[in-house]
Symmetry: C2
Subunit: 387 residues, 2 copies
């Protein structure tokens, strides 16, 4: 089992704080946006005598509500095609375990969400990375590159759209390419759409909207980022493939049920006003604009403009992103402050890639991002491993 590549820097951040240095956390996707108070109110007003196991697929009332929610984002599903999971994490684990046998393979465009590696180890499957580069802004690699790595053991492709860690938003044409590959080679398309609500400019096309892919697509969803409720641990596995759903239900039944109170919160969230997302989305967009502008204004730094989510990957003039990110915490400060970033090496499956790149999560307000960029700018001037 691999260690979390992001968490290994935590002791250095703690040591920096002990020295009195303020650390701006751009390293993890924990948003600072307030969780809608209506979600907490729903629990406060719930009249529960016995906090029982819920249905293993989640409360039916919530799944009925989710059908409504999915309709608003152009996805047509029935409550019986929705399974509530303990966070998006469990949806991914169930999807892998239900669709693949140990030794089977999934193709994932890299850089990718590092925990896919851990979930693959849990399911005993192999992750085969194909590289998307910063030069193209992390666009989907061409079909030929997928086909070069397809083997008899390849069972699926995993995408995260919009993407963590790159922020890339796949175009309709790219989604059609994925459709072509999956239908041609009979592959599952595992689609992690945790950041669906946060797209800036482009249009989000869900894998669930791809025609003729009903038996191939598994949507892995979560309320963590949508409503800034990461700690609730409520996600969903959604699929129109009945055999797949029935298999996933066996895993769901073994673990009995998803969290009970959090389902009540999540159900209440579906009733938030239709314009609820306008504010957080505008906030994230303003942060993205500032972050990207500041990064690209630094000498020898390049950051493609991300189309969604709240992440960006930047190329820096540094020898080694792991060394640099540790150095920022251990040996650097600017006006008593520093910034914590995620080395991009942890997001690549191919060894050696990501050494000149870092991931930045714009989960802090504009002022904090400004200060964090001041720190980074100063750091790049004095970092001994600058290239």
């Amino acid at each position: 089992m691999p260690s979390s590549p992001i968490r290994k820097l935590v002791p250095f951040a703690e040591a920096a704080k002990k020295k009195g240095i303020k650390v701006y956390h751009l390293n993890i996707g924990q948003p600072d946006i307030e969780t809608p108070p209506a979600m907490f109110d729903a629990i406060r007003h719930a009249d529960i005598k016995v906090l029982e196991y819920s249905h293993s697929a989640g409360n039916e009332s919530y799944r009925v509500k989710l059908k409504e929610y999915y309709k608003t984002v152009g996805i047509d599903v029935d409550p019986g095609q929705i399974m509530i999971t303990t966070g998006g994490s469990e949806a991914i684990i169930f999807a892998f375990m239900s669709c693949l046998n140990p030794g089977d393979e999934v193709i994932i465009p890299e850089p990718f969400y590092a925990n896919y590696n851990g979930f693959a180890v849990m399911a005993g499957i192999k992750v085969v990375p194909i590289t998307s580069g910063i030069e193209t802004g992390f666009a989907l690699p061409p079909i030929e590159e997928f086909e070069q790595v397809i083997t008899p053991r390849t069972k699926g492709i995993v995408i995260c759209n919009p993407n963590n860690p790159t922020g890339y938003l796949y175009s309709s044409a790219e989604m059609e390419h994925l459709r072509t590959i999956c239908l041609r080679h009979d592959l599952y398309l595992f689609s992690d759409e945790a950041y669906r609500e946060f797209c800036y400019g482009g249009t989000h096309l869900s894998a669930m909207q791809l025609e003729g892919m009903e038996q191939h697509v598994v949507l892995m969803d979560t309320i963590s980022k949508r409503y800034s409720a990461c700690g609730a641990r409520i996600g969903a596995l959604v699929t129109k493939n009945k055999a797949l759903y029935d298999t996933a239900m066996k895993f769901a039944q073994a673990r009995l049920s998803p969290p009970g109170l959090a389902q009540i919160m999540a159900e209440a969230a579906v009733d938030l006003p239709g314009d609820y997302f306008d504010k957080p989305k505008a906030e994230y967009q303003a942060r993205r604009d500032l972050l990207v502008q500041r990064l690209n204004a630094m000498p020898d730094v390049y950051c493609p403009n991300p189309g969604g989510a709240f992440y960006a990957i930047a190329r820096l003039p540094i020898d080694d992103s792991d060394v640099f990110c540790q150095w920022l915490l251990e040996s650097f400060s600017f006006e008593g402050q520093t910034v914590m970033l995620a080395p991009a090496t942890g997001f690549y499956g191919t060894p050696g890639l990501g050494k000149h790149e870092v991931r930045l999560a714009y989960v802090l307000n504009l002022e904090a991002i400004g200060h964090a960029m001041d720190c980074l700018e100063a750091a790049l001037k004095t970092y001994p491993g600058r290239i």
Copy 2:
């Protein structure tokens, strides 16, 4: 992945209810005892702006509290040896995945909690059952029977104490036997102690109290039954083995965190008055007494007196417990009522065992148990497969 043996009867129960028949559910371990209101109050009064990921091992404040709780039950552990999990289920999954490689084996005295099978499939490991019989009241099989099935791939023994599904409470002598086997063959002892608080008569000896077993024991715990809070999904993996804990942390980090609000509830539960358990325990004991007395008063029925938990296994004069339990729902009623039981076949790993046994969960009040026993008594008189 195996299906849940208990859930397969659910459609028949639903059909019976549609026909207007009242069904007494003695088939699942969902207690009717009220969840302590103080646990809900803790959430109502919590002032949370952003429901963030908690620490992957759970909130430190809760783990500090749990140290206190464990002290009251004679278990001496530090907060750093406690990992909060999503229900006891996740503690079992993490324990298996952290201690065993795919293909490794665990020995489990049967009948055992059926979901161990599912967790074993998830971890890619093999369950090797050894039989404990109803004649001995489901006592631990002798050491020799363990040693007969130990292979180079055997890595541990799983016990549930007091036991689900038998209600058996292991004696100090039996716990010492387990200690001997584990030390002699260098095996882990995975100890599921979900029902610790509900022991009637005997004394509960935790695996954590076995001397010299610090590196061998993994405690798999949960608040589900303790505080009648099954839907909270809060459990714990507890071990003094640091390497094991560190490995389990990698799995914990991959899934980010256990449920947030439920941890607040669980933390409040530790502050319940010291006599909190007196009432539910007395209630369960009265139910057990009634259930066992009624069962043993029926001709050709035998039910050993369970020492703990809220389950009993009874031997009935029937040809096939799966057929009988389905017949109870599909073809029988007594004064417009019937009873739902769990066929014991689902709890045995050895094919063919449990055909004459059922599990009864005494999670209903005395009056309901009385009616349920009336139904069972009448059913045994008319069941066509009576032997």
